[in-house]
């Protein structure tokens, strides 16, 4: 088994009375770009929230660096594991630099609210996301794609080796989706970070993931290198969609082409 700083075992996850995940084991390989896919309400976001300490499991444990994540001080966890939630809120009239700077919260203490490290981390996060020129703009006057990059910069400024992203490409047009995913791939390759993202687009997942987790009904159906596990049978089993899987002409990774049921055939 590979090294893993983040894993969960025997996870039982529920909202109120609704059990979403029951008895799930998961391991996030270090240095991977792990993507979780599955149909709506399959529990993928729930799993991500549990891994990020947002949701208290009814049973089982999430281990971060060998210890139960819930037994560790919140700020200590936040220095190693960052999360970009699905819908964060930007305070009124906040500037980009100020928002990104708030990502330094877990590194700051009451009387040491700013250090040269903070300054460097913010500058690097802005540069990595291509938002340096936006630093003095107000967040609420940015486009959706710019805003998502700024939020990513905030999580990057946290400088955590592990980065969890809950549907980072939702509400973005296709060009901005690719931009965000390229950035994620970059972060893994150049900065050696481990990323976990929930994505909707299976083809994006196949292209960018180094480790794919396919979920259905709160359980993992298959996991591994997308090139090895994704075929028509898997897509049928996970999404109930008839399709063909062909090599992506750009990258050679699996490309899912839904079967034509009632489309116009020219």
């Amino acid at each position: 088994m590979t090294e893993a700083r983040l894993s969960g075992s025997g996870l039982r996850l529920a909202y109120d009375d609704r059990l979403v995940v029951d008895g799930l084991d998961v391991t996030i390989p270090d240095g991977s770009f792990t993507v979780v896919v599955g149909p709506n309400a399959c529990g993928k976001s729930t799993l991500l929230r549990a891994l990020a300490r947002m949701l208290k499991p009814r049973g089982g444990t999430v281990l971060l660096d060998g210890a139960d994540i819930r037994s560790q001080p919140a700020k200590a966890v936040a220095r190693r594991l960052g999360l970009l939630p699905q819908s964060p809120t930007a305070p009124d009239a906040i500037t980009v630099a100020d928002l990104v700077g708030r990502g330094r919260y877990p590194h700051q203490r009451l009387l040491r609210q700013w250090s040269p490290d903070d300054e460097r981390a913010v500058a690097e996060a802005l540069a990595a996301t291509g938002t340096t020129e936006l630093a003095e703009r107000a967040v609420d006057e940015l486009s959706g794609g710019q805003r998502q990059r700024v939020w990513l910069a905030m999580v990057l400024a946290q400088e955590t080796p592990l980065l969890l992203l809950d549907e980072p490409t939702t509400f973005l047009d296709v060009a901005h989706q690719i931009e965000v995913l390229d950035l994620c791939a970059d972060l893994r390759e150049r900065h050696g970070r481990t990323l976990v993202a929930v994505l909707h687009d299976l083809n994006h997942a196949c292209r960018y993931a180094t480790h794919l987790i396919a979920m259905r009904d709160g359980a993992i159906v298959a996991e591994g290198d997308p090139s090895e596990i994704v075929d028509a049978a898997l897509v049928e089993r996970v999404f109930g969609l008839a399709c063909r899987v062909v090599p992506d002409p750009e990258t050679g990774t699996p490309l899912v082409v839904p079967a034509a049921r009632r489309a116009r055939v020219s």
């Binding site: 990020a52 300490r53 947002m54 001080p73 919140a74 700020k75 200590a76 966890v77 936040a78 220095r79 960052g82 999360l83 970009l84 939630p85 699905q86 819908s87 964060p88 809120t89 930007a90 305070p91 009124d92 009239a93 906040i94 500037t95 630099a97 100020d98 928002l99 700077g101 708030r102 990502g103 919260y105 877990p106 700051q108 009451l110 009387l111 040491r112 609210q113 700013w114 250090s115 300054e119 913010v122 500058a123 802005l126 340096t132 630093a135 003095e136 999580v155 946290q158």
Partner: protein, 355 residues
């Protein structure tokens, strides 16, 4: 202290030599804070100097520094200074409480008088005046504090569901506040005329006849509560990003928010106990401060200074505009604060439409 210029983030970083203390200070809020402090000092001197026996500003400063003659000493230190100190402390406490509430609820209407704590305090005080039949300052203050805390417990308890949500807190608070208000008004109609008059004066919010016995406990409470609030400032800034993001940053979301609400409730209660329910300071001061500093974030210190300024200015106006009548300051803050806020919002909306 040495200061270093920064590139990415606005403002300068003030550091102690070994770097154990390092705070980022933005220029505009800092300058605004200094200007507010100067205005406060000037206004306080005006407040002390004017009245039935006018003193010159110079006499006021000399007396404050311990060098005045006995008669001006009596006028300054026994008659006028405690009132000015009361105004500054009450205003500061309300400004700070308002800033905390508005930030926690993420709602500019989430101020203590809207979410019902002020009316809860009023109900407590009116119960003491009309039902218990006591007019003693300490008893009325105790009633106000008790009423405010009880209302806060009720509002937070009713709004609690997997933690506190700002919107729910505001709505529940409005409801509970209306009940407290109805109770207050019912008690007034049932009370003896003299008690009802006494209570009505108290409800209007006034600094008339406030002395050291109100200022001292207020100063003590503020000396504890204000540093606590400032210490939770970073948590407040994290909370502004939404619960998930705040939790992901390692902030204690539920505990932190509850502690902040408790501090704000306590600030409101002690301020109300000292001067009665004073309208609009908690609502307007943080908004005005935020627009003047143009900072994003809770801006606790500017809000506190702005609250003190607003109340002291209102009190000067209340005493001088109709000297014979001794207008309750609460009525003036309502008028000034309300007009200023309306003007600000209107000009802002108009500016936005043009843009």
């Amino acid at each position: 202290m040495s200061a270093a210029t920064q590139r990415v983030l606005p403002g300068r970083v003030v550091r102690s030599p070994r770097g154990r203390i390092a705070l980022r200070v933005e220029r505009r809020p800092f300058v605004v804070g200094c200007v507010l402090a100067l205005l406060l000092a000037a206004l306080a001197i005006v407040g002390i100097a004017t009245g039935d026996y006018p003193l010159s500003p110079r006499e006021v400063v000399e007396t404050l520094l311990g060098g005045g003659d006995p008669s001006s000493e009596f006028i300054v230190e026994t008659l006028r200074l405690p009132r000015v100190v009361c105004a500054l402390l009450v205003g500061g406490a309300l400004g700070l409480a308002g800033a905390i509430f508005q930030s926690v609820t993420r709602n500019p209407l989430g101020s203590p008088e809207i979410v019902g704590f002020t009316w809860g305090s009023a109900a407590g005080a009116v119960i003491v005046i009309t039902v218990v039949g006591s007019n003693a300052g300490a008893a009325v203050s105790g009633g106000a504090v008790g009423g405010g805390l009880l209302t806060a417990l009720l509002v937070v308890g009713l709004a609690w569901r997997h933690g506190i949500q700002g919107y729910r807190l505001v709505l529940v608070g409005i409801g509970v506040g209306l009940v407290a208000r109805a109770l207050t008004e019912y008690l007034l109609t049932r009370a003896r005329v003299e008690d009802a008059t006494q209570a009505a004066i108290w409800i209007a919010g006034s600094l008339n006849g406030r002395g050291w016995e109100q200022a001292r406990p207020l100063a003590a409470a503020l000396a504890v509560l204000a540093p606590l609030a400032l210490a939770l400032g970073p948590t407040l800034r994290a909370l502004e990003l939404g619960d998930d993001a705040a939790r992901a940053l390692g902030a204690r979301v539920d505990g932190g928010r509850l502690a902040l609400i408790a501090i704000a409730v306590a600030l409101t209660a002690v301020a109300t106990a000292a001067a009665g329910p004073i309208a609009f300071v908690a609502l307007a001061a943080p908004q005005v401060a935020r627009r003047v500093t143009r900072a994003s974030g809770p801006g606790l210190i500017p809000a506190m200074l702005m609250g003190a300024l607003l109340l002291e200015a209102s009190d000067c106006a209340a005493q001088r505009v109709w000297p014979a009548q001794q207008l309750p300051v609460g009525i003036v803050t309502g008028a000034i604060g309300g007009c200023y806020l309306a003007w600000l919002l209107a000009s802002e909306w108009r500016g936005r439409r043009r843009a």
